[in-house]
Symmetry: C2
Subunit: 460 residues, 2 copies
């Protein structure tokens, strides 16, 4: 018998309590709910602050007080937030994971987070986490472990910070059929692309600027290569399509090859470049991808600026929805974590759990060969005659139909590998097979007049 | 002992079943959940279609099948949807309300909806409703009745159609402090204002056009006078601030006095006019209002067009959020209803309920005297000397500081009450007390050179 139909461990355990509470009038169910915090960084200490400051109000909303029982972190001596009772601090993460009613995991990364979360769930605790990498890799294992133990796993903060996205996918749209989600889910790249657009900066300059301002990390790889957005795409796809999608299933391209020229050409066409996480459920199966795309200015996603995030959801009955807000930062992330804590705590009071994450489906993964789009490919080429003819012929030979070519840009400056005049040449295609497009581009890159790597943008 | 802490009626009832299911392996909990539908109009028949078409998938998500047991409507003979089994149709609403596990109320209006919903809750059924008028008037009574009976009341579709707004307020932001919600929550007025803006139409013409196209009802009063939005504001305020706010607490102004001149002046200033539902929790207490406002073009709400709806939420930790989507229509509304049905059905399978609507607070209602804003007041005046001086003096006498005056508009044509030349004169104030502003405007209207009623717009 599956867990859904049967009684969960917690329900079985709770019933005794609740029933004796009812019949004997005992006050066992007024005991505080013990919350163990794993991690006392920006988000962790903000969560601790909100739990402390809103203690009375939360008790009213939940029906029982929620009390921080322990806070585990690597360096308790560095925790300085005035509202944190230092006697709660410990380095013993394993103890906290297995001696709490609710475990809030804010450590991040794969290990020890995975082991701690699984141990917490197996100990009968519900888990609230903001850990996107963990869920993108081990989501199905974690969701199953929660269900087997009759406890909750909630993770609104893992995707889009304070934006209610996970809950709508998990619950509001549970009776509808989501066909696609287009998300701007990485604030760092959105900030960099915004700076490139408004200030005409090249990628490296904008990145340096973002690092100086603290919007990008010293090692920005995870953001600019698309991995962060890909993690979120995997989580969203699993939820939206009820089928397990892992980070390993997500095809990703980052924004490192995008230049000021790409931006200028987009602007001239009334478009902006955004790094999109796109998950879709179409005839050929489920797909999850991250790529830079050209978005028309009048699309709602085009006006998502700076470090804001947004998800544009299409569902069969609901039609278009957009959910927009702060995708990162201590306070917004803490807000999402707090919402999950309240939900999970109420379930504990009720002896129930929320909707389990149903990844029961086994929809096929769409093959790359099914991917079709219109593309804009920008090459950097030496300035000499015959280049246009050679490139056009290569596209024609592959059957990729060209919609337009721009070559009237000013010469591209500063290329360390070449001392002559360089020029930007950009080919915009009609809808074509992505595989064929990439073969075509590889072929073009074999010409000795092509310098460096081309940028490939997809039309939305 | 309160219901929150104790076992709900349903939990107490379910435990026996579930336990025997575990120990004896009986299949009682595989029985279909009986869903009674009240209303078979556009939304009702769409819900019936989705329940039928997605039957197997819903059973997987819920853990038990959901079966339409009865559909009550006034004229069963008029129901023609091919997917509706006519043997389920009845006119006996009371029977359906009291003989179902889930009652979906899509009749609308105050009575008999209120009685049916209360009877359903008291019979132990959970209720899903899209009835904004009902909840705006009797929300606290209905929420309390649900809580007392240990059953669910869900109503995502009552505000903003398919937009997940109720659930984020009820759950995602439950650990945060919502300070304001600014909503475009009425599609009809948004469509009319959009048409006035893009086509330069006057209100009456745009309304007629909307009626011809089916976007406005034959009697448009409820939409254009702001009552529909006010109902939604009351529901949102109650949820956001955990304090009972009724439709009777909502101050409302509609859009009937807005002219093409108002729109042209707004456009010239880089602004749009939108009918806003604004709820706020400030120092002076809780307020809920509906009024036409001037919104700068670069605000996310400015680009909410046509029949789309959006809510711009500010919470202390989450900062700004915007939730956007289809605010009306059969399919989008049905999507929201379906999401609620799945949630409520899962709770039935689990023997639990969702977060009850906690309107435990008793925050004071902000007095009108605490309302301050900058206003733009447009008068229609006879074209003769001394008018500007007289109006300016009246504003000065009341201590209302003027930020600017426009009077260079072309003469206003066609005024049935006056045969001479008319002119538009518009006064933009600095921040001032709303009461003083209205006294000032009343005073100005006593001048014999003022024709008709002025329009009063608030700067956002």
């Amino acid at each position: 018998m599956g867990q859904i139909e049967g009684l969960s461990q917690r329900q079985a355990g709770q019933i005794g309590n609740e029933t004796s509470g009812l019949s004997g009038g005992g006050d066992s169910n007024r005991n505080p709910i013990r919350l163990g915090l794993l991690g006392a960084g920006t988000v962790g200490s903000e969560v601790a602050r909100l739990l402390t400051e809103q203690r009375d109000e939360l008790e009213q909303r939940i029906g029982r007080p929620v009390e921080i029982s322990k806070i585990a972190c690597r360096h308790p001596e560095n925790v300085s937030a005035s509202w944190i009772d230092t006697s709660l601090l410990t380095t013993d993460t394993e103890y906290v994971a297995t001696h709490s009613d609710i475990v809030v995991e804010l450590i991040g990364g794969l290990e020890p987070a995975r082991t701690l979360v699984l141990n917490a769930l197996n100990s009968g605790a519900s888990v609230v986490t903001a850990n996107k990498a963990l869920l993108a890799k081990y989501g199905p294992e974690i969701y199953r472990t929660a269900e087997e133990n009759g406890v909750d796993i909630y993770f609104e903060a893992a995707v889009g910070g304070a934006i209610p996205l996970i809950r709508p996918l998990r619950e509001s749209l549970a009776g509808d059929k989501v066909t696609s989600v287009l998300g701007i889910l990485n604030g760092t790249t959105n900030y960099i692309l915004d700076e490139m657009t408004t200030k005409g900066l090249d990628f490296e300059v904008a990145l340096k600027d973002a690092q100086d301002k603290g919007y990008a990390e010293a090692d920005p790889t995870g953001d600019v290569e698309g991995e962060d957005a890909a993690n979120k795409a995997a989580i969203v796809a699993s939820l939206a399509f009820h089928t397990p999608v892992s980070i390993d299933d997500v095809a990703m391209e980052g924004i490192t090859l995008i230049t000021a020229d790409d931006i200028a050409l987009a602007t001239a066409e009334g478009k902006v470049i955004k790094l999109l996480a796109v998950v879709a459920n179409a005839e050929n199966g489920v797909s999850a991808r991250v790529y830079p795309a050209l978005i028309p200015n009048d699309h709602p996603l085009a006006s998502v600026h700076g470090s804001f995030n947004a998800a544009f959801v299409h569902a069969q009955a609901a039609d278009d929805l957009m959910l927009y807000g702060r995708g990162a930062g201590g306070a917004p992330t803490a807000s999402a974590v707090m919402g999950d804590i309240v939900t999970v705590a109420r379930h504990i009071v009720q002896g129930s759990t929320g909707q389990q994450i149903s990844v029961y489906g086994h929809l096929p993964k769409a093959p790359l060969s099914s991917s079709h789009a219109a593309f804009a490919v920008r090459f950097c080429v030496c300035d000499r005659p015959g280049i246009l003819a050679a490139i056009s012929k290569t596209f024609a030979d592959h059957g990729v139909s060209i919609n337009g070519i721009n070559q009237d840009l000013k010469p591209t400056p500063h290329n360390p590998g070449y001392s002559g005049e360089l020029q930007t040449l950009r080919v915009v295609t009609h809808q074509c097979s992505e595989i064929t497009l990439r073969e075509t581009v590889d072929q073009v890159c074999k010409f000795d007049f092509v310098i460096g790597k081309p940028s490939i943008l997809r039309e939305m």
